[in-house]
Subunit: 414 residues, 2 copies
């Protein structure tokens, strides 16, 4: 059980999505009160997490990893919500993955025992802090992809107290991609630089296939990760225990095909998957790209995030303006998807034919077909595309059961 929050923020800080004008209420008391989402304790817009769907998704992915013999380090940058990290670790996650030094620090403060920083770490300040934490039971791995970077790490740690080396994975990228060595030869050079640097230890190889265009490219790239790992092992640059990590939320079936099994004889190989968006899934990008659409008999994910927002104006035929904007909903991988209309009477109807055409900072433009009447005061329920840019817009998120009773409050740390 992690610390759920770092400074016990009460809801009296007027976090958006809640309507608590009175004295301070702790989130625990708020959750215990059993508020209904439509009972006046929240304000619009609000991002809501469906508790049962999140539990289902955590269990589904834990089972997938167990079935394929993987370790799982779910990407915590998606949610940065300690209550969800707790649930993921309880379901067997080996570590939590993060993307930045600050997220690493937050995980340490929250009590996460092992963190995979899926990024380079070159800033001397967090590097020196990390070297000190390793003597106090904290485990962390991060990436290296250049000799210059390895030298910078070595220089930052040269005069530090402590005895344990920082543990790194050599990152293999691909041409046109993001970080990571472009060739296996470069990766070997980086690994040799690690071997020559005090206080730095090479634990394995990592990569990220999420930016690749199709399954053929992903398959080829994962093959090169395997080849690179074998090369490093053959050259004696890896210890007995080896970590190989890949896998966002779009291609983990191919990761299972390509990196599963015992392909590194003489070593104790741990393959670590890092999917993040699976935890809430979505109605857009991941609905289309999830491997569960391709693989059979491995389960499926449920959409766990909804934004509820109010129609404020219906100024022209076919147009409704909704109080939900770029501050509230992701818009980088597709606009929010209207799911349902809730009338002032409480009646709920489908939202077939409605679509969001544009977002301003605080408004959405909703196209309404002639056969549907949308009225000022109606509530719209939207699905989202891209969980990462949904969570980071909300500091507190009510968790609801399937009847929309608020059962918990998530705190996020962005």
């Amino acid at each position: 059980m992690l610390r759920d929050q770092l400074d016990a923020p009460a809801l009296d800080w007027r976090a958006k999505g809640f309507w608590q004008p009175g004295p301070a209420v702790s989130s625990a008391d708020f959750a215990a009160a059993g508020h209904h989402l439509f009972g006046g304790a929240v304000s619009w817009p609000v991002l809501v997490a469906r508790s049962a769907a999140i539990t289902h998704n955590i269990d589904t992915m834990a089972a997938f990893c167990a079935r394929h013999g993987f370790s799982f380090a779910p990407h915590g940058k998606t949610t940065m919500a300690p209550a969800l990290f707790t649930a993921q670790l309880a379901a067997g996650a080996w570590a939590v993955t993060v993307a930045t030094a600050n997220q690493l620090l937050a995980c340490r403060a929250l009590g996460v025992p092992r963190v995979l920083l899926a990024n380079q770490l070159l800033d001397p300040v967090p590097l020196r802090w990390l070297a000190g934490e390793l003597d106090h039971g904290f485990e962390a791995l991060f990436y290296v992809d250049s000799v210059a970077g390895v030298e910078a790490i070595g220089a930052a740690l040269a005069d530090q107290p402590g005895t344990r080396p920082v543990r790194v994975l050599a990152e293999l990228g691909h041409p046109g991609g993001r970080t990571g060595c472009r060739t296996v030869d470069e990766l070997v050079e980086v690994a040799e630089a690690v071997a020559a640097t005090a206080r730095v230890r090479l634990d394995g190889v990592s990569g990220y296939e999420g930016g690749l265009p199709d399954s053929a490219a992903v398959t080829a790239y994962l093959g090169r990760i395997r080849e690179a790992t074998v090369r490093l092992a053959d050259r004696g640059l890896l210890a007995a225990e080896v970590v190989v990590s890949a896998g966002g939320s779009a291609w983990f079936d191919i990761v299972a095909d390509q990196l599963g099994g015992a392909w590194l004889p003489g070593h104790d190989l741990r393959v670590v998957l890092r999917s993040g968006a699976y935890i809430t899934h979505d109605h857009g990008y991941y609905a289309e790209h999830t491997p569960f659409r391709r693989v059979r008999n491995e389960g499926s994910l449920e959409q766990a995030l909804e934004i509820w927002a109010q129609v404020t104006s219906t100024p022209e035929p076919g147009l409704a303006i909704v109080g939900m904007g770029k501050r509230d909903a992701p818009y980088d991988e597709g606009l929010p998807v209207p799911l349902r209309i809730r009338r002032a009477s409480g009646a709920v109807e489908g939202a077939d034919g409605l679509s969001v055409t544009r977002l301003n900072d605080q408004h959405a433009y909703l196209r309404v077909p002639p056969e549907v009447e949308v009225r000022p005061g109606d509530l719209l329920c939207f699905g989202i595309s891209h969980p990462c840019t949904a969570f980071d817009k909300w500091r507190t998120i009510p968790m609801v059961d399937d009847g929309y009773t608020i059962v918990d409050v998530l705190h996020t740390y962005f």
Copy 2:
């Protein structure tokens, strides 16, 4: 002096941008310590606000409004930072503008005496709360643009205790625009509905010209706002004191031309400008669109926001990867603009020819011309485009003097 924060958050909650791994530090103590931005007290990326530039911009806009006889209700949704509201009110602002019920609640909790909610407010819960607050010295105005909306407000307030009416502005929109009646005839109907509704009082007319394509369209639209106000006054639908409000940060020179002067005889006319983005200005959208590029001898704005982020990888010729992503920098009205390179040695160079081509959640892709060498560990300073979607990505923002000593910490309430 407003309350600077609602729950006195200390920096021990690992707010990104700060590096405070030790015991809790209050923001006041942190600011008093005199940290230098490059002295190890922050982590990368960090959004930084330049104190002198903000002061300059607040003074410049206050002088513009005073010179043209306007009241100023700066749009608080841009920053949602109480310390900046305090500075804007101290410089003579008549009110703070907000966009949502939650922002209204935050302003009330912070002690803002008068708020212009530049939006419809149809949710009965905040409406009833507001009706109660009006008896305790709080002033607020909000918009109406439909008869159905006015009826919903009347129904929400019908059985409420309290004596004062809620005060509304009838919103005139334009075809193809956002909220607001599309014709003056519709506006008159809405005003008549207000006159027929207990506990609601019409205080004037509002509009938003920010979405219009050019100065001719803005001029014509502002003329219709004037015409609509005269029509309502002629029909006896306005009291002696009248508020007319318009004005984002892109066209306030034309607002001054079109809405300045004594054009509503027999009434005490207050024209209220609502610009928000002026407070930090930017290196993108507003740098291009600010009226100060058109008007002469009225001053100019300075760019006050910078993001500092670290180069983590230089994996291919011409490409550097920087630790700054969609979570950190606005990307809806243009990508961040490289301004300077700070080497590990502390030397600072220009960033001519560099450009950001893409953002992921936590990474930026930087195109680097052949004649420039960018190295892992270098810091990049970026300007931004669109202050609203910069502020909302940061809970705490260091304010720096021109020598990059941290002199204050802004807290935001999104």
